[in-house]
């Protein structure tokens, strides 16, 4: 059974001769599913290929959402960044472009990898692919990192939720940022303990984040939240790699996130009855999409 208490899990990994988190997740999955190591790595490789495609397509050509409300920003940002204008530096700006691309592909009803959800599908691919590119890491290392990310996701899903309808955006983009932060930390040589500090910091940064999408579509503010989530993940990984620790352990942050999610009014949990969705502009945009559907 997957250990959901991070202190116990870190202890267990130490006892196993400093087993990395990715290896623990892979072993647990072999036991759970009865499938072989090779089969599981192969499936992850296929997911990685879908991630690579969705992280690049909308940067090359402008992609519009099915509703017509949004689109083209991944391409716009890529052109800006290509001129060397970005404030963020090479790795972070690449991650931002990739996160936007995945999210725009999602809103256009093309294939993505939910990670953990479709609304937050840009964060994990963006930070992993951008870091791997800037540090020259190979494909096997990326596959390992996806297993690390999954371990963090399993803890969030099992102790709390990754559904925006239950926990708001903190449960989706927050979980994704925690997954990405831990995966980058471990991929760049951090210990499991450091990876959990990174995950804890990433989730703490977005506690209380509402899910209030305009017109009920996974577009506004979701697409930009993916870019922001990627930055949050990179920041948290950077802090953890520098030796910064989270004062509150990861599992306690997850429990707090769940309690906050349950305390949030339903109007800001994916119902589009509150927040940005009911601003004058949000309401006007909703009307526009409905007219579009009737016409």
């Amino acid at each position: 059974m997957f250990i959901l208490d991070t202190e116990k899990l870190i202890q267990k990994l130490k006892e196993e001769g400093d087993q990395p988190l990715w290896e623990y997740a892979l072993n647990q999955e072999m036991e759970r599913s009865g499938r072989s190591r090779e089969e599981l790595r192969e499936q992850m490789d296929q997911s990685l290929a879908v991630m690579e495609r969705s992280a690049s397509t909308a940067r090359k050509e402008p992609v519009q959402s099915v509703s017509g409300l949004t689109g083209g920003n991944a391409c716009r940002y890529e052109q800006y960044r290509g001129k060397g204008n970005s404030l963020l530096g090479e790795t972070a700006s690449l991650a931002v472009g990739m996160a936007l691309s995945c999210s725009e592909i999602n809103a256009s009803m093309q294939c993505i990898v939910a990670c953990p959800t479709a609304g937050s599908c840009g964060i994990v691919p963006a930070v992993l692919l951008a870091c791997a590119q800037s540090r020259g890491l190979d494909r096997q290392t990326l596959i390992n990192a996806l297993f690390t990310a999954s371990a963090v996701g399993i803890i969030v899903g099992s102790r709390a939720t990754v559904s925006g309808a239950e926990g708001g955006c903190q449960a989706e983009c927050g979980a994704a940022a925690a997954m990405g932060a831990a995966a980058v930390t471990e991929m760049l040589g951090g210990t499991p303990e450091m990876a959990f500090h990174a995950a804890a910091m990433a989730l703490k940064n977005v506690l209380g984040l509402t899910c209030d999408p305009v017109a009920g579509l996974v577009e506004i503010p979701c697409i930009k939240r993916n870019a922001s989530g990627a930055m949050n993940a990179l920041l948290s990984a950077d802090l953890a790699l520098a030796g910064v620790r989270s004062y509150i352990p990861f599992d306690e942050v997850v429990d707090a996130m769940y309690a906050i999610g349950k305390a949030m009014p339903q109007s800001v949990r994916e119902t589009s009855k509150g927040g940005l969705a009911v601003t004058p502009t949000g309401m006007r945009m909703k009307k526009e999409t409905q007219r579009g559907e009737e016409g």
Binding site: E29, T117, A118, G119, G157, A171, V218, R269, E270
Partner: protein
């Protein structure tokens, strides 16, 4: 508590835009299609909570409608579910409803098949594309779709269930949970079981030969992706 696997968190590979509102919904539809065991001609979907509020924007309606036509959540044909349904002469209706104290993403379906059988199912999309089936034909169940399911309709008399479970025993297939209920006419019983281990196709033939069994439906996790 649900035991999540690696690919519940990195995955599924799916058509956007929402894992709970698009992929989960398509899986609920596909689950219903498999349990019906034949083509669906008419579908009424009662949409609860967040499903009721945002189904059009998330393509939840397209996903459910695609699912009952046998289209998987990673198939880009999902986007054109209405057009496909129209070509096949499938009628569909979506009605916002209050289904009580249930998960915010819940749908109750009333489905009429080609042969005229009417069939109901309630299910929730609980996040990340995962689903939970809570009711089938008025029988309360608790299925995740991640383990094989066996559904039977049989005459309501002693010995029929023993005949069915004897065959499962012969194949060394363990029963995780089961629910039995009578239909209104008092002559037919429905049974739903969640089983451990993949179900071979010839198991269906063996079960269909059991005295009193009228109909057997098998659903393996791979059927709904």
């Amino acid at each position: 508590m649900k035991h999540y696997g690696v690919f519940d968190m990195i995955g599924p590979v799916m058509v956007g835009p929402s894992s709970s509102h698009t992929a989960g919904a398509a899986r609920l539809g596909l689950f219903a299609r498999h349990l019906c065991g034949e083509e669906i001609k008419k579908a009424v979907f009662y949409m609860h909570g967040s499903f009721a509020e945002t189904y059009a924007g998330h393509g939840t309606d397209k996903a459910l409608l695609a699912g009952i036509q046998g289209i998987r959540y990673d198939d880009e044909r999902l986007k054109g579910a209405y057009e496909l349904a129209e070509q096949k002469g499938i009628q569909a209706e979506f009605i916002p409803a209050d289904l009580g104290e249930v998960h915010p993403n819940t749908v109750h379906m009333e489905l009429t098949t080609e042969s005229g059988s009417v069939f109901t199912m309630t299910g929730s999309s609980i996040g990340g594309g995962s689903i939970c089936i809570t009711e089938i034909d008025g029988v309360e169940v608790q299925f995740s779709g991640e383990r094989p399911i066996l559904a039977t309709r049989h005459t309501d008399e002693p010995g029929v269930i023993a005949g069915i479970t004897a065959i499962l025993y012969a194949y060394r297939i363990n029963i995780g949970n089961m629910q039995v209920n009578r239909t209104e006419d008092g002559k037919t019983a429905c049974m739903y079981m969640e089983l451990d281990g993949e179900l071979p196709e010839h198991l269906k033939n063996a079960l269909e030969r059991v005295y009193g069994v009228k109909q057997v439906l098998l659903l393996n996790p791979g059927d709904i992706g």
